[in-house]
Symmetry: C2
C-alpha cells in the first residue's frame, strides 16, 4: 500500500494531535479541531481507510452518548537514525514516537557516507526483524553537520569529510522505499525536546547542543525555525575573535574552538602535561589521553583546573547566548549534550553571564536548564522530523 497521507490540513491536525497527545475520544477530538460531526466522521474515515488512524476501544463516558477512542494506527512505525561524530544510533518508534527498540554502535563517520548509510539501513533492518515489521512509515535522520534540508544532503563540514552534497535522504529512501527527512543534529534534538522533553511546555525555546560540535535549534511558535537557507542556529563557527585558537574548520576564534569538546580536551592535555592538574595528569598516565568525559569527571570531583576549563568554555558560550537571548527572547533555554555530571558547574557560569548582561525584558523570568532527555533527544527528534513530514497535508 502506498502511503498517501493526510489530504487536507484538518486531517494533518488530527494526526498530529493524536501523535502528541495519545489516544483521545472522538467527541473530544472533534471539539478540539472545531469540526462538525459529519465533517469529522468523513475525515476520520479517510484516515482510517489509509491505515493511519484506528479505534482503540470505548472512551470514558462524559454523560451523554458513549464515544470511542481514536489513536494513531498500530501499523504506523517510524525509523530514527542519529549520527554523531563517533556513534550511530537507530530506533523504531510507534505513531506517538515512543521508542519500541533501539540499537547503536561506535562508528567513524570519516569512513564516508556510503558505508554509514548502508550500516544504518542494516541496523534498521535488524530492528524491523526483531519486532516483525514489514515496512516503515518513514525515517528521520540527524547528521552532525549543516544540512541543506530541501536537498536532504549534508553541507561541507569538518566533522563529516566526504559527505558534502551526498544525497543522504534519497540514498536511504531508495533502500527502504519510504519517505525520509534529514536535518542537523541540533535541530533534530530541539524537535526531540519539543516532543518529549522540557520544551513540550513551551512554544518558543532555544535548544543549545554542546559536544564535539556546537549548534542551536530554534523552536518558534511550536515549530522548528530553519531560516532562509536551513542555516538558523549554526553558531559553532561564529568567530568570537579574529586571533583566537585555530578551529577544525580552518578559521580562528570560532565558538567551537573555545568551548567544543576538542578545545576542552586540548586545554586539559596542556594542563596535565604542564603539571597544573594532578587529577588530569593521573588520567593521562592511565589512559594515554583524555576525553571530554574525563575532564567533566575531574571537574565534578572538584579538580580546580578542570573546573576552570569548564567555566572558561561556559563563559564564552554564555557571551554568545546573551546576544541570542536578547535578540530572540525565548521562553526558556535548554542545554543538551553536556558531559555527564558537568551540568551544575556549566549552568552556574552560563547563568551568571546571561543574567548579568542581558536586557531585562528578555531574561526577567527566563529559565536556563539542562536537557533531561540526553541521547534520546536525537532519536525521538528524528522520529518527530519524519512524522511532521508524513503527517502534513499534501
Amino acid at each position: 500500500m502506498t502511503l498517501i497521507g493526510p489530504e487536507n490540513p484538518d486531517q494533518a491536525r488530527l494526526l498530529r494531535r493524536l501523535r502528541d497527545d495519545g489516544a483521545r475520544s472522538r467527541v473530544e477530538l472533534a471539539d478540539a479541531l472545531g469540526l462538525n460531526r459529519a465533517r469529522f466522521i468523513a475525515e476520520v474515515d479517510r484516515l482510517t481507510s489509509q491505515g493511519l488512524v484506528e479505534t482503540a476501544g470505548p472512551a470514558a463516558s462524559r454523560g451523554g452518548r458513549r464515544s470511542s477512542l481514536l489513536r494513531v494506527a498500530g501499523q504506523v512505525r517510524f525509523g530514527a537514525v542519529a549520527v554523531s561524530a563517533g556513534r550511530l544510533d537507530v530506533a523504531l518508534t510507534d505513531g506517538e514516537l515512543a521508542v519500541l527498540a533501539r540499537l547503536g554502535e561506535p562508528v567513524d563517520v570519516r569512513g564516508g557516507p556510503e558505508a554509514l548509510v548502508g550500516r544504518a539501513v542494516e541496523l534498521l533492518g535488524k530492528l524491523r526483524a526483531e519486532v516483525g515489521l514489514s515496512r516503515l512509515t518513514g525515517v528521520g535522520v540527524a547528521l552532525p553537520a549543516p544540512v541543506a534540508v530541501p536537498e536532504g544532503a549534508a553541507v561541507s563540514s569538518p566533522a563529516l569529510p566526504g559527505w558534502h552534497q551526498f544525497p543522504v535522504r534519497d540514498a536511504i529512501a531508495a533502500e527502504l522505499g519510504c519517505p525520509v527527512q534529514v536535518d542537523n543534529d541540533a535541530n533534530v534534538m530541539a524537535l526531540g525536546e519539543l516532543h518529549a522533553g522540557t520544551g513540550r511546555a513551551f512554544d518558543d525555546f532555544l535548544y543549545v547542543k554542546l559536544g564535539s560540535a556546537i549548534g542551536c535549534g530554534l523552536v518558534l511558535g511550536g515549530a522548528l525555525y530553519r531560516g532562509a537557507t536551513s542555516g538558523a542556529g549554526d553558531i559553532g563557527h561564529l568567530r568570537l575573535t579574529d586571533d583566537g585558537p585555530l578551529c577544525d574548520c580552518g578559521n580562528t576564534g570560532c565558538l567551537e574552538a573555545y568551548c567544543g569538546d576538542g578545545a576542552l580536551v586540548r586545554e586539559a592535555l596542556a594542563a596535565a602535561h604542564g603539571s597544573r592538574s594532578a587529577a588530569l595528569a593521573d588520567r593521562v598516565a592511565e589512559a594515554g589521553t583524555l576525553t571530554a568525559a574525563d575532564v567533566a569527571r575531574a571537574a565534578t570531583a572538584g579538580d580546580p583546573t578542570a573546573q576552570t576549563l569548564v567555566r572558561d568554555g561556559a563563559r564564552r558560550l554564555g557571551q554568545v547566548l546573551v546576544g541570542l537571548v536578547s535578540f530572540f527572547n525565548p521562553a526558556i533555554v535548554i542545554i543538551g549534550g553536556a558531559a555527564p555530571g558537568i551540568g551544575p558547574v556549566l549552568l552556574a557560569e552560563i547563568r551568571g553571564v546571561v543574567y548579568r548582561r542581558s536586557t531585562p525584558l528578555a531574561t526577567g523570568s527566563m529559565p536556563i536548564v539542562l536537557s533531561d532527555l540526553d541521547e534520546r533527544a536525537a532519536l525521538v527528534g528524528a522520529a518527530r522530523l519524519i512524522s511532521d513530514h508524513v503527517f502534513a497535508a499534501r
Copy 2:
C-alpha cells in the same frame, strides 16, 4: 456601528489579501483562498454587510463569465502614530495602508505620556477633519521603547522617562473609541518594510533600526516575531564589553553606547574639541554643538575623522549582526534610520564584518541593504500593526 471584524480565518485571509494586493476579481480571490463558489459568496456577503469590503467595478475578462473586482471598503481608515525621541508623526491611511494625509511636529517625549498621547489624538482629529472622516477603524502606535504588547504599555526605558507602564493603548482607545495597538518602533518599522518596502519580497528578514536608540524587528514566515515576552530584537542594550562607555541606561558597554546617535555625537564633539577634524570644529563653531546629521554630512563630504567615527560604530554593529545572522539565517538584512547620506560608508563597513566572519550557509547570498522607506516605515508599519489586529478572526 460597532466593528465586529472577520468571523473566521477565511474572512481574515480575504481582508489581508485585499489589503496587501489591492483590488482583485472575485474569481481570482476565490481561487487564491481555495474556497468554493457558495462559501466565497457567503464570506464576502458577511464582510460587505459589515462595511469592510466593497465592489470596485467590473474585472478584466478572463474569457468566461465577467467577474467583478473587490477591495477593502472606502470607509476603512486607519490612524498611525509614530513617536520618536524628538518627533511626533501621525497619518491616516486607507484600507490598503496608503497614506492619505499626515502631520508631524517636534516634541519632547520627556514631557510625559499624558501630554503626548493628548497631542497625538488632537493631530489625528485635525487629519480626520481635513478629510471629513467621522470615525477611525483603528489606530497603530510606534513607541521608542520596549513595549509589553499584551498590556499595550511601554516598559521602563531611558528614552521615555515617566512612561513606564503608562497604558498608551487604553488611553488612546478611550479617547477615540476604536481598537488601538502599540509596539516598539523597530518592530513597527519592520512591519512597514514588510508591507511597503524591500521586505515585501521576503518571508524571513531582519530589520535593524539605527538612530538615537538601536533595535531590531524580526519577520519570520511573513509575520512579526515578538518572542516570549515581547522582547525579541531588543539589542540596543546588549553589553558588548564589561568596561565600555557609559550608556543612558546606566550600564556600560551597551551596543547603543558604541553606535547610537548619542555616542556618535559625543565622539565627534571630542574630535572637534581635540582639533582632530576641521570640518567638525567648524560646525561646532557655527552651531554651538553637533548632531548625528552633522557627523553624517562631514563623513559624506570626505572628512576622515567623521568617516572613522561612522566606521567604528558600524563595525560594532556588524559584530553583533554576525551572531544574529548566523543564528537566525534571514534572507536579507534591511537597515533603516541611518542619517541621510551616511549609507555607503556604513554599509561597506557592516558588510565587511558580516561577510568575513559569518558562517557560509547563513550569508552565502544574503544581501544587506538600506531601507528606502525612511520615516514612512513607522507610519505604514503602525497602520499595518492595527490592520493585522482588526483583520484577524475573533
